[in-house]
Symmetry: C2
Subunit: 436 residues, 2 copies
Amino acid sequence: MRHDGPVTTRTPLSDLSADELAARLTEVRADYDALHKRGLDLDLTRGKPGADQLDLSNGLLALPSSYRDRSGADIRNYGGLDGLTEMREIFADLLGVDVSAVVCGGNSSLTMMYQVVTALLLKGGPDSPRPWSQEPVVKFVCPVPGYDRHFTMMAELGIEMVTVPMNADGPDVAAVRALVADDPSVKGMWIVPTYANPTGAVCSTEVAAELMAMPTAAPDFRILWDNAYAVHHLTDEETKSADALGLAAASEHPNRPIMFASTSKITFAGAGVAALAASPENKAWYIQRLSFASIGPDKVNHLRHVEFFKDADGVRAHMRQHRDLIAPKFAAVEDALAARLGGLGIAEWTAPTGGYFVNLDVLDGTASRVVDLAKDAGIALTPAGSAFPHGEDPNDRNIRLAPTFPSLGEVETAMAGVAVCVELAALEKLTADAEA
Amino acid sequence: MRHDGPVTTRTPLSDLSADELAARLTEVRADYDALHKRGLDLDLTRGKPGADQLDLSNGLLALPSSYRDRSGADIRNYGGLDGLTEMREIFADLLGVDVSAVVCGGNSSLTMMYQVVTALLLKGGPDSPRPWSQEPVVKFVCPVPGYDRHFTMMAELGIEMVTVPMNADGPDVAAVRALVADDPSVKGMWIVPTYANPTGAVCSTEVAAELMAMPTAAPDFRILWDNAYAVHHLTDEETKSADALGLAAASEHPNRPIMFASTSKITFAGAGVAALAASPENKAWYIQRLSFASIGPDKVNHLRHVEFFKDADGVRAHMRQHRDLIAPKFAAVEDALAARLGGLGIAEWTAPTGGYFVNLDVLDGTASRVVDLAKDAGIALTPAGSAFPHGEDPNDRNIRLAPTFPSLGEVETAMAGVAVCVELAALEKLTADAEA
């Protein structure tokens, strides 16, 4: 999936002579100056849906038309910690799990993840020898590049992060195995299994099976399976997520995975419905913890979503409308990068088949410079290193591009500018290296 | 406020002879048998709004009519950790605080309380020497009787509870002072300041001022000021809550109180808006913690409420409609208890001027028996002792009555039955005592 643009007759920059590099640097500086003069104000930083995507769900604003669930219960009142059954059924279908495994919550799966981690720290899980906060050290395996909010949560809560590479078929299993086999302080692992943030990688069933089966020194090892983009396809190839709960149960580690998802990038980013799915023991544990902090989720919002979608197929049809709106933006990213950088040997980028991001790897040591150049030219990019723990990319090469929020025209303009910055930063480095 | 029913010519049961007691016991047993035969199925357990109360807010179901806030921002998307400004303004007005102090969150103030306590445990507050979880012991002062969910949260999180009496004007300040002055492990205190759960007591400004000013051994002492019933008046005397934040700032303990409220018993119990208000330092600390767990609250629900109420006066007018529906139920409780128990000297109960509960104190040692008798007769009461830490009422005399959810007719029937149970349990005890 990672590639280098179309076949091209361009000469890789590394094959250029010092004089040729210097000449090219002069040209690209001129391009950058022209870019800078345009006084742009564009933002590719965050994976937010565009206004046209949000418009797809405006029908929600006047719903629900009723305040009773299928059983006749009044959903305006307190109660029902695990959420509206009809909403749980939709998530169960989308996630490929039994409805009994599902809890529907508030508007944020990130909040549910935080609840789980803090509960593990303060109380421990069903199979923990003690609360994690009583361990001398707690570590989590973090595939990189990964989701910045997973990593900032770990840092906030004092959990050490150990990294493994994120491959095209999921985390590097051998690297994970090596970390978890003998060290009981390695208590868990993050993964975005489908259309990962930011690489777009999809965890294969084989990799998922190994992760669920591998021996771990910690008896209460948890894989936080953040399936944020389970149904967020960008092509006809509508990838099915690996059956994490089923694989874990089959290898006698039923409590290992805890699955998360939400409608944040399906309906309204700020007003959707989040869900968690887990083994019977994990679910009972989670609901028990939750019972001390809540008298039930917003079931009116659950019913609003149920009326809007009817069923999981309603969600799938809705996601195809999202795809129609955002696939052209991803194509624009591809086109802009290929047009300027193809064949130069200074950048690789992904062509994701789903999700919200394009992962751009530039010449080692230049990502920060690219982001700075872009910023000075009025193009906001996610800070270099964001996809790594503590914001530290050891190679300073990774940049996450989020093309959904700006308009198509803005994406085109911004990405043409980003390509200039990538080339300029590379030429600066290569000419400096040549001089050294 | 606590009283013993109307002036009556009845003889207190304690003045009856053994023979008279035995005769009366026989009569009341017959009443109870008749009650039992009715096969009732009534529930006075939880402080839930009735369906007619929820109906008052059905206008919310078709709102909002827009998805832009006053500034033009798209409230469907992520962002705005402290909530919609217009919603914060309404809470600021209702709570008598500056809008800058207010954070609006999800559907549950209990969840915000839990977030605050867990954050104090895992991170400590702005003025904490260390995270509370690293202290050998953490204790909270709990006025009793109090709110069961405060106490179960403490037990869940391993925080020890030390009790003080809840008086008619708030917690017994001398008792609180004695607990907090020298013991740095006493880190906080719960209070429901207005129309307290379950006694209906209102914390006076004098008591509030003393609580905010008193010396505490812990430098990071917190008063969790759960103003759940701030605007839930039952009479024309619309009590104004003490200005906790202002009093605390004036006595140079600005970070001591953290205020909580919600619209759970204003609009929809399960789908309202919760709020927190605190000093600038506490608010920044809370928002910082929240930023690791959320990308913003459900601002669509905030706007829905803003459109529905327009402003704080809209809320106040709405609360008068609630009062019209529930004040007769509180009157029915009073009438039933006075009719059967007045003058017998075996029960005291409150006549609250706001809130959701009537506090019934029966003859010492008989509350559990009353609840069991009622249960057998098909009347569900909150378990005896619920209003005390660990569910243990040292005198076994306290029963919390919640009359809002059942219909008026059901309240009348249930409370007539409860009064029989109170008298029967008292007679059982008095006759047994007389024999002993």
